[in-house]
């Protein structure tokens, strides 16, 4: 029987810290990573709930562990971490609804780890705060992250992140965990209950075509991953590598990751650690924004996101928020030589530590990416990139035709793309873009509301700018039509000269390629 247990308040380095005990006993990569990660966050103390019912673990018990002769308990521990000293007295004050104490607890809250009563793979649902972002101009983009609120003794503790857990190979394999993390994304907040790992595994096995023993679950195949996503009410968007052997070129991989993650969709990345090695799947949930750094050549079109260097990944074999550098390497295949993208784990320099083992030695070769997207998202990132390259090229052509005719210097253009909910474009994106210009902001919003045909719930935004990131125009497409139709709603044009150049096109051509005009400049 489960029995009452008091909350425990410990110093992070205490030998009673369950994370320290697991690290000493298991010597696993995950325990070392989590310990280092929290140390890097300046963790000083932890609060332990020795009795915590975890929804995912209860579901796992119900599916598998209840059948075991070992007699697994159904209760977990939940560890809460803080970057300040925490005492029972301090917490008791917060439990009495003392606002100052509760606020202070939240200011120092670093997140939580659920510890399952499974010896070999104890780390259940884990949400840890991101480490500091030191570059605000090209920030870390973690759009899929959401706020998790833990409640204990009436005290609410909030942390922003995306849930990670370790695979147990009983109920969940790495791909299951990848799907589970993907479906925790903020993009799906409005419409669904997050499935547990056992629900995902059973969804993956629900077709006779892909059936083998459901439990224990050591692995999933591509079709099972896609089938599970469909069964859970989403559409799988699958993209495989463009290079021989199904590897990715770095530029394409970077562009695809950025397009989906910026849109709030985490990506499952399938690949292997070595050529021909056992497949592994990880979940990408962030990347470091970049600026166009090439010296622009007039007439050229630049894809901003192909220069991305860093992505952030949940790897169930390592831990949450793992930073990987994207590199390009030459390889040979039957019939020639090519280049491919390799992801190399790299801890940020300011988080260096002498802890062992050295975890920065993992390389991963991506071969496919799968996103779970809303069912109304009909267009693909690939199709949108193709159209973006062509349309930006055409725009660059007509821009330079005009500039030449006026005796001005010719320009290059850059573009980037993302999917965005209509309400988020109207509310947050325009507010950020037109910060400090309330009259213009109002005018643009009213034009979008009144002068443009009804728009889809999700939009595909093609943002075109000068290479110094001076925004020229957002071309806004319908996501509920096909790649082939390239249905466009409107263009929000920020530059008056460019607006006049676009207006010089014949009306039928202009409306077909750019849609209705929304003027986002002061006349």
């Amino acid at each position: 029987m489960n029995t009452a247990k008091p909350l425990r308040f410990l110093d992070f380095n205490s030998q009673e810290n369950p994370l320290v005990i697991i690290k000493q006993n298991l010597k696993s990569i995950q325990s070392s990573y989590l310990f280092q990660y929290l140390k890097d966050l300046d963790c000083k103390s932890l609060l332990i709930e020795d009795n915590y019912f975890d929804r995912d673990f209860l579901s796992e018990v119900s599916a598998v562990y209840c059948l075991s002769a070992k007699g697994y308990p159904n209760v977990c521990k939940r560890l809460h971490f803080f970057s300040s000293e925490l005492t029972r007295e301090k917490f008791a004050l917060a439990a009495g609804s003392d606002e100052k104490s509760e606020r202070e607890l939240n200011e120092h809250y670093l997140g939580f780890i659920v510890i399952r009563p499974i010896n070999g793979s104890p780390f259940g649902r884990t949400v840890l705060k991101w480490y500091a972002d030191l570059n605000r101009d090209t920030p870390r983009i973690t759009q899929p992250a959401r706020v998790y609120v833990s409640s204990l003794a009436g005290v609410e503790l909030s942390v922003n992140g995306l849930a990670w857990q370790q695979q147990d190979s009983g109920v969940a394999a790495c791909a299951t965990i990848g799907i589970w993390s993907m479906l925790h994304s903020s993009a799906f907040d409005a419409r669904h209950a997050i499935p547990t790992t056992s629900i995902i595994t059973e969804a993956a096995h629900s077709s006779a075509l892909v059936g083998h023993q459901t439990y224990p679950s050591y692995s999933l195949t591509y079709p099972q991953i896609q089938h599970a996503i469909k069964q859970l009410g989403f559409s799988p968007s699958y993209t495989s590598g463009d290079q021989p052997g199904q590897f990715f070129s770095k530029s394409r991989f970077a562009n695809i990751c950025a397009a989906y993650i910026r849109s709030g969709y985490p990506l499952m990345i399938g690949g292997s650690h070595e050529d021909g090695g056992i497949g592994h799947a990880v979940c990408a949930l962030g990347f470091r924004e970049v600026a166009v750094t090439n010296t622009p050549v007039a007439g050229e079109v630049y894809l901003q996101d192909e220069e991305i260097e860093y992505i952030y990944v949940h790897d169930d074999n390592i831990g949450p928020n793992v930073r990987f550098k994207l590199e390009e390497e030459t390889y040979s295949f039957e019939g020639g030589i090519s280049t491919r993208c390799v992801m190399k784990m790299e801890k940020p320099g300011y988080l260096e530590s002498d802890e062992t083992p050295n975890l920065d030695n993992t390389s991963f070769y991506p071969k496919a990416v799968i996103a779970a997207v809303h069912n109304d998202l009909m267009i693909s990132s690939d199709g949108f990139f193709r159209h973006g390259i062509i349309l930006t090229g055409q725009l660059c052509n007509i821009l330079n035709t005009y500039l030449r005719s006026q005796g001005f210097e010719e320009k290059a253009l850059a573009f980037s793309s993302r999917f965005l909910m209509l309400k988020e474009y109207l509310k947050d994106e325009l507010e950020r873009q037109l910060f400090g210009q309330p009259e213009l902001l109002s005018s643009v919003r009213m034009q979008l509301q009144e002068n443009v045909a009804p728009m889809s719930l999700h939009l595909a935004i093609l943002r075109i700018a000068l290479p110094d990131s001076s925004i020229m125009v957002d071309v806004i497409f319908d996501t509920t039509d096909t790649d082939k139709n390239k249905s466009v709603f409107c263009h929000v044009v920020f530059d008056e000269t460019l607006a006049r150049i676009i207006e010089a096109l014949p009306e039928n051509m202009r409306l077909a390629e750019f849609g209705a005009k929304v003027a986002a400049y002061i006349k």
């Binding site: 101009d137 090209t138 983009i141 394999a173 790495c174 791909a175 050591y218 999933l220 195949t221 591509y222 079709p223 991953i225 495989s240 463009d242 021989p244 052997g245 199904q246 070129s249 530029s251 394409r252 399938g270 056992i278 497949g279 799947a281 924004e289 970049v290 600026a291 901003q304 496919a368 390259i389 090229g393 055409q394 052509n397 007509i398 035709t401 005009y402 500039l403 005719s405 006026q406 001005f408 210097e409 850059a414 980037s416 950020r432 873009q433 037109l434 400090g436 210009q437 943002r463 700018a465 000068l466 110094d468 990131s469 001076s470 925004i471 920020f494 530059d495 000269t497 150049i501 010089a504």
Partner: protein, 70 residues
């Protein structure tokens, strides 16, 4: 601080800091001749090999349904 020194991205830049295109004061009309040149330039067939990279999924090379992720 200008965009040149800040290296902002397309999603972190703000409108008030942007640099516009050159503009001929007092000539809001584009001549008929230039309009025709713009129309022709827009229809000009572009070749960009990057389009191909986003055309070919290599899923056909995925040797079997048995590729597993564990």
């Amino acid at each position: 601080m200008t965009n040149e020194t800040r290296k902002v991205s397309l999603w972190t830049s703000i409108n008030s800091e942007r640099k516009g295109l050159e503009h001929v004061e007092g000539s809001d009309l584009i001549s008929a001749e230039v309009i025709e040149l713009i129309r022709i330039a827009f229809l000009e067939k572009l070749s960009d090999k990057r389009v191909d990279a986003y055309t070919h999924n290599r899923s056909g090379e995925d040797v079997s349904l048995a590729r597993v992720f564990g």
